[in-house]
Symmetry: D2
Subunit: 374 residues, 4 copies
């Protein structure tokens, strides 16, 4: 079983994660994590701070000579602007943020004490953790991508693209969107919103390829793969909706138009012509691509701030203006990949056990053989 | 902290749950649970079996003279048709069900070994657990309802209804829908689907009233209230999408049209004019109504069965026809209330601690005072 | 990963357990569990109630035709004297019991509300769970025994006995002690204590044979096998001390007289001539027999009751006299086996993964081969 | 609820811990942690490395201006000799260490890959975590000490000493032993062992003062306070036995000589004249001092090394000689305080809830009042 905790404030010294339970013998390099951290910083519509940051992970435990030991992997990413103690106090909570609810909960009179941790900067830790998980999954041929399917109402059309095309096109797009025409419109919409002092939300899709059937379980509520994926995705800052496969569209279809008929192909085993279920049935992966969507609300910090209340005077005030992203949907997709990678990797570790990569692989291959001969 | 495990197969002897961590001194009566179990069985579009079942819970531990002791509460609901060992083996997995993925995972050649547990009959246990949680929440004035907002593409219009109106109207409707006109159309659509040997999905909304600000936390990914709610809802059989507040609609709005401006009213404290966030910001309840939606795919067992493959012969076959619900969206709403009640009750127990109801209440009231004087 | 919860009061309707996470395809019979439940009831020095009880488990889920499905296993043992609601209230807490601390914690004015759950009758559930775990372990050749090594100061001498001899002799002894002479003295001591209206404690040893090296882990505090075994044993009612291998004796030795030198025998691999470590080094099983001891205080309910205080009047009173065991050390050994079986089985499931017995065995055998070829 | 993970290898860059769940508003200073880290390094019989190390914690998250925010607290202690990748490979496992079992488990051919994490240097992280917990407990008047009661067979006599005397005397003693005469003998015994190239074990006692009644619970096996304390203590490197109160001595007594009679004193409430139970009955704190003992085996690395086997050649070899402590019992007591502090603090957080120190205190005081008026 994998576990992780993250720590760190936005303007604290560093963002930290500990990932516990990883097998030994996995080659992990900081540069792969840094590449993902860079992907996390990009996307049209980010503010200036993003440009300055060049996050670099320091793996301070769990590795020797570039390979995992089996011991916990601690990763630290220093913050360039470590200034938490000198920053001015804030007292006008931003609607849409944890500011007010957090201040009431923890009894803080300086909202900074909340927003420093509530900030999506924390996802630096989750991307680090998720990248190690991706590296593990790659050893089993499991691959994950994300692409933006909507920003500010502009939808992408990507139906006929393959996994590889989606990735290639999305990675080239400033909006991380595989539809070139939509990308252009998205960027325009971002520019418009920027001009208006406003912000945008959107949606991204996650695909996971080559997942074996049998991850997760139907037997207990907290072991369902879709449930755990939903938790991880919904826990990303600003996500307000999560779906699997057709999601809400499935709710409108008749059964005969929704469920994926089962076929059998000698070389491949059981298969489907459609994948409306998004690769999960009964809380268990069914061997098809896992397809997830997450819906993100617009950034809560507006240049033209919303009305709020000063928590000290209780008088009407403008919400604080901390930062100036217009949208972060492209980055959120990268974070979505990371948390998905964690959940899939964890389900793999639970199902296949093993303490070294070679033991885990041997168990995995034995199972694939079992499935083949089923 | 609350925990629960459920057990039991659809045609096994009984469905069982153990709820661990409940405070002492809470009055719990079987009849309240039975009423919820009855609600769970209802709704236009259910098959005949539903009519026969009259679930009655037996609380076999944790209570004395109708009040909780603080010890684990075990609840057993006997199955009327206890016949698991004599039922014939099944070999044609139903698309949309756990049948095939589960059989591959657990190495079963009789699909019944999977579907007996994957069946939504398991939710009898979750409704029992959730009802005890609801009873706890009622002590703190927290109230939960669900109503159906869509079946088979027919949408309800309920925008202007109050919490109480929604409940009253939904409970009277055979579709558990608060819009009378929509109810009629839903029932017609169900009849049509039935005639076609087909099935329907839909969506329901959950509202939670009087939740104090401060449940859940932004500080760690697995403590976010929305994340945990998403997991619990997605873990309900056939749910493919979950949203909080505006959900996917928020993703289309600009920030200025989405976030809920903060006001302050002396008698009520901080408040909002809108509730697009659905009562949760930054993974923390903000004191507004919690608003959740879940999207359910159509029932996977069709009278006019889909194409499948016999797992023994590997030849094409018709999927098994086990049961004949046309839709279960109304019931799913009741289950949604239950799992929501669990998550909110758990967040309450974590925040307020306490081992007796009176201790928990004292802590709660102290906090309300603190919030008031913030 | 295995999990379990137990529920049930001493004079409630039943004692219940749910065991979650068991592989499919394991043959489990009620009669094996009942045999262990019978072993749990025996031992010289038990009161009359024990004679009356004939516990019989009803496995109400997780099995079909005598084999596990992979779904949670719920087990219910009905109480013969189901009378919780009609029993008189108690107000003089017994020193040594949970009575007073529990009443203060949960705010109960009737001590019965505590002692009904604190009673060692709860271990009926743990023995049921542990027996299923033992059955799993037997499939891997792992065998567990317990024997009493001390009662009331009378010590057993069993140094030269083999695993099988220990078991055979202990099972024949009314004190579950493998030393015949000591058994006799123990029984006399029990008779003496009985005559004095007093009670006795003692100690038992657990041995686990054929545990593969590599269970548990040194990498994180909560994954150490010895730590988890200590928790499980210490959680048994009345246990006040737990040790591994030489235990407290190791603390008196020099390193050169304590640590088990490593040898290598071609047919057997790495081995030891001594086993002072009790089969666990660094929180990991090392392939030798696991050796545990638990120390039990005397029964807290005395026929000649201790001084106490009436919780209502606050006046001095005699402690309540609920039941009349003189000692329960022999039974505690059986319970110790059960909780040990759970921990070892869980560590096996974590290390080897797998959802069916055959998958778990394949993974196990692959690992044994790996160790052999190390 | 509190959680923590530790990470870091002995010669890696740093030792790290993340403590999750701490309330806001607690004043924490690095210097207090450093003082405890220094206490952890001391004690007669430590090797030279200890002299060089001057551990200094860097709290990189969770604090602002010296007070906790409520967010996770990450603590990093850099290793002076960061050299893990350049150290030579080791192939002769030390009896008594994780070396061999770990190598087999994780498939490592260089034992360093195991011992780097198995090393007690990891306890730097646990002492850091435990010190934060101690600081929390001090706010509630709860105080913890440890003192050495035995080294290498030399026992201390401290029966008549008060809590404060025990602490003062132990802190002055090079053996952390409150008995001056015994200290002298212990040091001699350490010198003797050193001369012989051998090592020593021993035992320490932990006392916790002012614990309210009601921490932990009897209702479920994994909530018993003594069980959780036993796990934490047994998980400390080299601990082979753990006891509560009289421990193994209780097993030899009759009930009438063992259980602590209950008295009632108007000003103080329920009380005891003796404390043989060590402050825990039925898995619940009873308001008396918590008394724990842990038994430590001798250091496994001997200057005059034990026989072992080279894991590559399979030929007999001398065990590796890594380091040269003669005994670490005095330090182990400090670590014991830390893990005890964590468990008590966690039980406090679970029982009293609260997200800020002032909320937790209010709940605590309400409970004390309740107990007083019981």
């Amino acid at each position: 079983m994998l576990k992780y905790l993250t720590a760190g404030e936005s303007h604290g010294e560093a963002i930290i994660a500990i990932l516990e339970g990883m097998v030994s013998g996995l080659k992990v390099s900081s540069s792969v994590i840094n590449r993902e951290l860079k992907r996390r910083m990009q996307g049209y519509g980010r503010g200036e701070r993003m440009g300055l940051e060049k996050d670099a992970v320091n793996i301070i435990s769990g590795l020797k000579n570039g390979a995992t030991l089996g011991s916990p992997i601690a990763m630290v990413v220093n913050n360039k602007d470590f200034s938490i103690s000198s920053l001015n106090a804030l007292s006008s909570p931003r609607p849409g943020h944890a500011d007010l609810a957090g201040a009431l909960k923890y009894g803080h009179k300086d909202l900074r004490n909340i927003l420093e941790r509530a900030s999506a900067r924390e996802t630096v830790a989750r991307v680090s953790v998720g990248t190690v998980c991706k590296i593990l999954l790659m050893e089993f041929g499991i691959d994950i991508l994300s692409h933006v399917v909507m920003i500010g109402g502009v939808e992408a059309h990507t139906k006929d693209l393959t996994f590889d095309e989606l990735r290639t096109l999305a990675e080239k797009s400033p909006a991380r969107c595989a539809d070139e025409a939509a990308t252009k419109l998205m960027c325009e919409e971002i520019d418009n919103a920027k001009d208006a002092g406003d912000t945008l939300g959107g949606a991204f899709e996650i695909l996971v390829k080559n997942v074996p059937p049998g991850l997760g379980s139907h037997v207990q509520w907290d072991r369902k793969l879709d449930g755990n994926l939903a938790r991880s995705l919904m826990s990303i800052q600003a996500i307000k909706g999560v779906s699997v496969g057709l999601g809400a569209i499935a709710a409108r279809r008749r059964g005969s138009q929704c469920h994926d008929e089962i076929i059998y192909i000698r070389e491949r085993g059981f298969s489907r012509k459609t994948n409306n279920a998004g690769g999960i049935e009964g809380g268990i992966s069914n061997g098809e691509e896992i397809v997830l969507r997450a819906y993100m609300k617009p950034i809560a910090t507006l240049k033209r701030p919303l009305r709020s209340v000063d928590i000290k005077t209780k008088k009407q005030a403008k919400a604080e203006v901390e930062r100036a992203d217009i949208t972060a949907v492209p980055a959120a997709g990268v974070i979505g990949e990371a948390v998905t990678a964690f959940e899939i990797a964890n389900a793999m570790c639970v199902k296949f056990g093993g303490d070294s990569l070679s033991e885990m692989k041997r168990n995995f291959e034995g199972y694939l053989e079992q499935v083949k001969e089923f």
